[in-house]
Every structure is written in C-alpha cells, then in structure tokens.
C-alpha cells in the first residue's frame, strides 16, 4: 500500500439516536462510538434498526432526536452530499451508463478534480481493488464480485472520511463472499479507514470487525469484541444470534446443582439461580454408554451429520433437542445412548 492512500482516520459518534416510523421505534436511543481506524459491525436480524443507524451516519435518514458526529463535526443536519462518506450498497448501485473507470471517477468529477489527477487516482484504485485493465469495460458485463469491487473503489476514490458498508457481501455467492470478506478487511486495515458495516451474517461480523454491535428491536443488545460476544453473551438473544448455542431453561436446586432437560447436573462455578443454561455445541464431548450403564447427563443420538472437518450430532436430552459438534474420528449410530461430558466452566448462565 502506498502512502498516498493513507487516510487520516476520524471517529464516528452516535449520541442517543432515535428514529420512529409510524409510531414504531426503528432505532431506540442508540449511542455508539467507532474509534479512528476501527471497523465495527452492526449485527442483527432484519428490522433490528441496524440499517437505519447506518443510514443516519450516511445522511439518508435524519434522526428524530440525537446527534451524529464524524470526527469533530456535528453532521446531524448536514446533507448527505456534504458529509464526505464512502458508501457501498448490497445491490452495488453502479451507474449502468458509465464504464468501470467512469463509475470510479464519478465522485472525483463531482468534486472537480483536474483530468490528470483524476486519471491517476482512478488507475490507482483499479490497482487497489484488483481490477487493473478493466477501466473501459461496461459495468453490466462484470460479475457480482467484480461489481462490488468497482463499488468499493468508487466509494474510496474521493478520499472519504469514513466508509459505510450496507450488507456489501449479501448478494454474492458463498465462495466469492468469503474471498471478498478477507480482502475487504485487509484493505480496511491497510487504509486505516474508520468503517461501519451492517450485516445479518454473524460470521461476517465476527470475522471482519474489531468490535461487533448486536442490535435487536432498535436497541443495542451487546457491544464487544467478537471474542467477548462469543464467550460471554449478555442476553439469550445474543447467545442464540452469535454462533450456535444450546439454551435450556434451568431450575436451581441448591447445592450448585441445576435441573436441565429433565436431568440433574452439578455446576460448581455458577451462581445457583434459576434461569437458562447455555452450552456451545463444540464443548460437548460424547462417550458411548454400555446397555444398563447410566451417566449424570445422558442422551440418545437422533441424527449424525458428517461435515468433513467435524461432525454435527443431534441429541435428545430428556425431551429437549441439543446439538453437539464433535471430532470426525468417532463413529456414532442413530439411537445410541451416550454420556455428555461438559467442563463445568463451559456452562453459561443467562436470564430467562
């Protein structure tokens, strides 16, 4: 990466953003700071307010109350075209009448760059997104992945202060998506540009960002590093949305034991309160049981799905269904009785 691409990073700050549609709060009192050079994801199901939040930063939505800052500037009432933000859309939104170079140059034309500088900047960006030699191609002849690269180059060309990505990879197929994900993150780190990403794909959010904001019903459920969210989800919603989790109601029986899925388990390091117990599929180990043998926590195998790197086992524990991810060298059969071994520090306690 050349130095001319280095961007002086600024932060994005949202203060108590509220936005209501037809009496329903789409964004309900959201405050958030994206630090200079940081990449933060807004993660959540559709309708959780993540897109509205992003669009408030872009200037396409004016919040009913609250303030938006980019760097030191209060942009709450600044028009979108004055904000100097780069935006990438799910549907690419390339200008169909312009060539690849024409699309990338659009923001530079608007800003009145002189021809020689403009040309140099366009070829620099073609290089950055790996589309050298594509300048004269019509954007209509490109694949989805190539189109999104053009869209990214177009957004970056006029040196925006921050980059906003609205589900940028959702329209692509799995392989291209994984490829572009890595590339996008690498480029973001190289440029050091402050970036806000909206996605409903938890894997995308976890793999690309420094911090993840999990949103639900217009509110922030939890904000933390991908590691934090996975290890210590703050609510059942986050636990279920970020990664897979077996989450069961649990009754405290005193003496550090709980009743869960009809069985009694001893978990010494958790506070003995009724609520929910969660356990990640990959921490469960399965031990075959001989006929007549019993274990503190046992299950019947319902289904085994071989996934290559490992295998997924669907278990009937009491009347509940659990999922375990185990190594692929063990052979299990449907209907087999197994003992579940779970390290006591792998259990999570969550409120109802």
């Amino acid at each position: 990466m050349t130095n001319s691409n280095a961007i002086s990073s600024v932060n994005i700050k949202l203060e108590n953003i509220k936005k209501t549609y037809n009496g329903k709060a789409a964004v309900d009192n959201v405050s958030l700071e994206v630090k200079p050079g940081e990449m933060v994801s807004l993660l959540g199901p559709s309708g959780c307010g993540k897109t509205t939040t992003l669009r408030a930063v872009a200037g396409f939505e004016i919040p009913d109350s609250g303030r938006v800052f980019i760097g030191d500037q209060d942009v709450t009432k600044v028009a979108a075209e004055q904000r100097r933000v780069g935006m990438v859309f799910q549907s690419y939104a390339l200008f169909p009448n312009l060539s690849v170079a024409g699309n990338i140059a659009f923001g530079l034309r608007v800003a009145g760059w002189e021809a020689a500088k403009l040309k140099a900047r366009v070829s620099e960006l073609l290089e950055v997104v790996g589309l050298h030699g594509f300048d004269r191609r019509s954007v209509l002849t490109l694949s989805g992945g190539q189109r999104q690269r053009v869209a990214l180059a177009r957004a970056l060309a006029p040196n925006p202060r921050v980059l906003l990505l609205d589900e940028p990879l959702s329209a692509l197929d799995a392989k291209i998506r994984a490829e572009l994900r890595t590339e996008l993150r690498r480029l973001q780190l190289d440029l050091g540009i402050t970036t806000l990403l909206v996605t409903h794909d938890q894997e995308e959010a976890m793999s690309m960002s420094d911090r993840v904001v999990v949103m639900n019903q217009g509110r922030i459920e939890q904000l933390g590093t991908p590691r934090d969210l996975y290890a210590t989800p703050a609510s059942p919603f986050v636990a279920a949305f970020v990664g897979a989790m077996n989450l069961m109601p649990a009754e405290a029986l005193g003496n550090s034991s709980f009743r869960v899925s009809g069985q009694k388990v001893n978990i010494p390091n958790l506070e003995n309160k009724s609520g929910r117990l969660g356990v990640r599929p990959e921490v469960i180990e399965l031990m075959p049981l001989e006929p007549g043998q019993t274990a503190p926590l046992q299950a019947v195998i319902e289904l085994v799905t071989y996934l290559g790197a490992d295998q997924q086992v669907i278990l009937k524990v009491g009347s509940d269904t659990w999922v375990a991810r185990v190594e692929n060298d063990q052979i299990f059969a449907r209907g087999q009785h197994v003992a579940l071994e779970i390290p006591s520090n792998a259990w999570l306690w969550l409120p109802i």
Binding site: M87, F95, P96
Partner: protein, 264 residues
C-alpha cells in the same frame, strides 16, 4: 390444437394486415373494376414524393412529434425523480392525473385553448407555439407510462443515494445519473407517444389548420382530391410507425441482453 392456434393467429393477422395490404394495392392502381384493380401505376407515389408540400408537411409532423415527446419526457423525468425520492405517496395520484388527457376529447381541449390563446397577452393560436405544448399534453399518458416503466426497472432511489454519497447535488444526479440511466427504456416505451403525436389530427386541424400544416392535415386535404395518393400516405405512415416500432423493440431486446448478462 396447433391447427386451431394457427388458424386463430392467421385470422388475426389477416384482420390486421389485409386493410393495409389493400390500401397499398389501391395506392399502386390507376383504375379499378368493381372488385380488383384493372391497371397499376406508380403515379400516386411519384405525385406524392414530387410534391414539395408533402415534404414540408412531413417535416413539420416530425418536428411536432419529436418536440412534443421530448418535452413530455423533459417534464416527466424530473417529476418522477422528485416523487420517487421525496414523495413516493404521491405517485398513485400522479398516475391518475396522467390519464386525464384521455378523458377530454381533443375538440374540447382545442376550443378551450383557442379561447384563451387568441387574445393578448398570449395570442399564439394558429402557431406551432400553441400546437406543440398542446400535443405534449395529449401524449403525456403514453410518455408517462414509458418513463414510469423505465423508473421501475432501474433502482432510481439507490442510484441517487450512491451519487449523493459521492457528493452530487440533485441537479447533478438528475443530469448525470438518472437521465442517462432511464433514457433507453424511455425511448423504447416512447414510440407509442411518438406515433400518437405524429398522427395527431384534431388539434392540428383546429389549432393551426393550414397556417402550419402537418402530414395528417395534408392527408385530409388530399383525401378529397386523389384517393390513390391518400392511400399512399396511409401506407407510408404505417411504414414509419412499423420502423419506429421495430427500432424500439431492438432497444428493448438489447436491454434484455444486458439483464441476461446481469443474471449470469
């Protein structure tokens, strides 16, 4: 089944093409028995093409058609752009109003216009300056459909947002993004408007008549003098409409080709 289908299609084609075919035959004949032509000649056609008035009137018709359609597109694209972006709820109202020219007979409109524009301050009755705006209104329903379809088939809202985040003003977005994006679709859909404007007779007769003669008026005058020549004009008008139509279909299929590439 296929026999029945072919039969129905054949009947329909005959119903549509026979009158034009017979008009062509009539334009090429010099005398006629009760049922069939006795002798053929190219006299009607050579008469037509050698008449300078025909060329002048045809030219005026083209000017009228193209300027009326261009004007209606020029008004409709920014209007739909504004409505799409800032007042999407008004779009059904606009669609309703766009049909109004169909409701008023041309005669009523013409009489109203003459009444208003025959006296100062705007005494433009009898000039193309009144005819062109009037025809612009008449073709508005066709042009509206064409523009609205073109808007629907391209994501105007998203394109505008992309351009805006790159720093473009509304005017720049309209001129550099929206107009070029919707124009191919508008042109292919606008052929209907073009033919309607080209063939507009009642307004042309009442508003300008012989003081700014157009082709339909020329044909109206010819009708009483030479039926063969009039038939030749009809065939020619049909040929022009057909040519424009296939040109539009060509535009549309190249659009489809782009879509096919998009999907792949």
């Amino acid at each position: 089944m296929t026999f029945l289908r072919r039969g129905i299609i054949g009947l329909l084609l005959a119903y549509l093409l026979l009158p034009i075919l017979m008009t062509l035959v009539y334009s090429l004949s010099s005398s006629w028995t009760e049922l069939i032509p006795k002798a053929f000649s190219l006299e009607a056609w050579s008469n037509l093409f050698s008449d300078p008035k025909f060329w002048a009137d045809g030219g005026r018709s083209l000017i009228l058609a193209f300027s009326a359609v261009a004007l209606s597109i020029f008004f409709l694209v920014p209007t739909l752009f504004a409505i799409t972006l800032y007042a999407p709820k008004l779009s059904s109202a606009l669609e309703f109003f766009s049909l109004w020219p169909f409701v008023f007979p041309g005669v009523i409109m013409a009489v109203g216009l003459i009444k208003i524009f025959s006296t100062p301050p705007l005494a433009i009755s009898g000039t193309p300056w009144l005819l062109i705006p009037a025809v612009t209104v008449v073709v508005m329903p066709y042009a509206y459909r064409a523009v609205a379809n073109a808007f629907e088939s391209s994501d105007v809202r998203q394109l505008a947002e992309a351009a805006r985040s790159l720093g473009a003003s509304d005017l720049q977005i309209l001129a550099w993004v929206i107009f070029p994006t919707v124009l191919p679709g508008v042109l292919s859909g606008g052929v209907l408007a073009l033919s309607a404007a080209f063939g507009e007779f009642s307004l042309a007769q009442l508003l300008v008549g012989s003081s700014w003669e157009t082709l339909p008026y020329y044909q109206y005058l010819t009708n009483s003098q030479d039926g063969h020549k009039s038939a030749a004009i009809s065939v020619l008008a049909f040929a022009i409409a057909w040519g424009l139509g296939s040109f539009a279909l060509g535009l549309r299929s190249s659009d489809n080709l782009k879509d096919a590439v998009t999907v792949a």
